[in-house]
Symmetry: C2
Subunit: 203 residues, 2 copies
């Protein structure tokens, strides 16, 4: 006997499965880590058959790329907001926002800077999202990642931007990996550290 559902599935054509999958994945990511991400589990959480996701993503890799892209979009927004809110100290503001983002969404942050990014085709959604985030970063850093392609071997302002970036990125990474000796208050760390550093030292 074929079961005829009492309430016909209103959302047979789900309408927004893609969105639901991405949001679900973001949640899983932070709750259980990247290793726990599986298309099947995501489909389960969305109350949909395990094959349904393939209508929206070619394969798991594509889902990961979409996640990372979403991450870069939010990242860019957070950086831009911070920079706009503190136009007199953009470096400090951006640095703080950068680290705060990483601490709020460590697994997403790792995913964003992981193999998916390195494997992104130029022009892909992910590559574009990353490029835009880099643009915000570079704008605030002065010169920055975009412009940081030195023609000579001499240290220059581009290297200052790169240094600032690396410093903040390193801090973020060490913090979320709990690689720092304990006993520090991360909130104040970024400010304190950034205030100790002067760029543009030796020519």
């Amino acid at each position: 006997m074929k079961r005829k559902p009492a309430t016909p599935p209103r959302d047979y054509h789900h309408g927004d499965l893609r969105r639901v999958l991405v949001d679900g994945a973001l949640a899983v990511l932070e709750r259980d880590g990247a290793a726990a991400l599986s298309l099947r589990a995501l489909a389960r959480d969305a109350a949909v058959s395990h094959a349904a996701p393939y209508n929206h993503f070619a394969d798991k890799e594509a889902l990961l790329a979409a996640l990372a892209a979403e991450g870069f979009r939010r990242f860019a927004a957070a950086l831009a907001a911070a920079a706009a809110a503190a136009p007199d100290a953009p470096l400090l503001a951006i640095g703080g926002a950068y680290v705060a983002f990483a601490r709020a969404r460590p697994a997403l942050f790792r995913l964003m800077f992981g193999p998916v990014l390195a494997g992104a085709a130029p022009g892909s959604e992910l590559a574009e999202a990353a490029r835009r985030a880099y643009g915000v970063l570079g704008g605030a850093l002065g010169g920055g990642p975009r412009a940081a392609t030195p023609r000579t071997g001499q240290p220059g302002p581009d290297d200052d931007a790169l240094a600032a970036w690396a410093l903040v990125h390193g801090l973020a990474t060490l913090l979320i990996d709990r690689a720092l000796p304990p006993g520090r208050e991360p909130e104040a760390l970024v400010g304190r550290v950034l205030r100790r550093v002067r760029f543009g030292g030796a020519g």
Copy 2:
């Protein structure tokens, strides 16, 4: 009919399975990445039954911890050697060695600073190996990770050491993740960047 081997297995008691497994894992790590690490594959590579590794590692986690510990030992040795070779510019030497290590063994480097480290019990082989490596690092940085537990909220020399560490760590991370815009020559990068930075800026 029981098979009686023509050549009795000389190394039935393998003698050094643990070593072989660790070395094999290090190779797999760099060849295929951390995701490809499996006890079964490692056993296969060592021409041993898939259950044999359990005589040497309680579980997969233990193998990973052993790998990370081995990594930290080599890391410490590399840093120490670099510092000893350039006593007049320890920061530059250490920074260069730090980044070089990461670039030479990216997957091991990631493993070392990954969840295994965060999950290491105090006093464990891994925790000790990491502590020793941090010691070398801190020694060269002046103050450094070990001493970097500030009592006040004021920026101080400890923060300089942390800043230097974060900068170098960030550079290493961005490089191995290919997150830097292309067109740079990584070999010269560290030196150029470090030379642009002055620590001990504002009080």
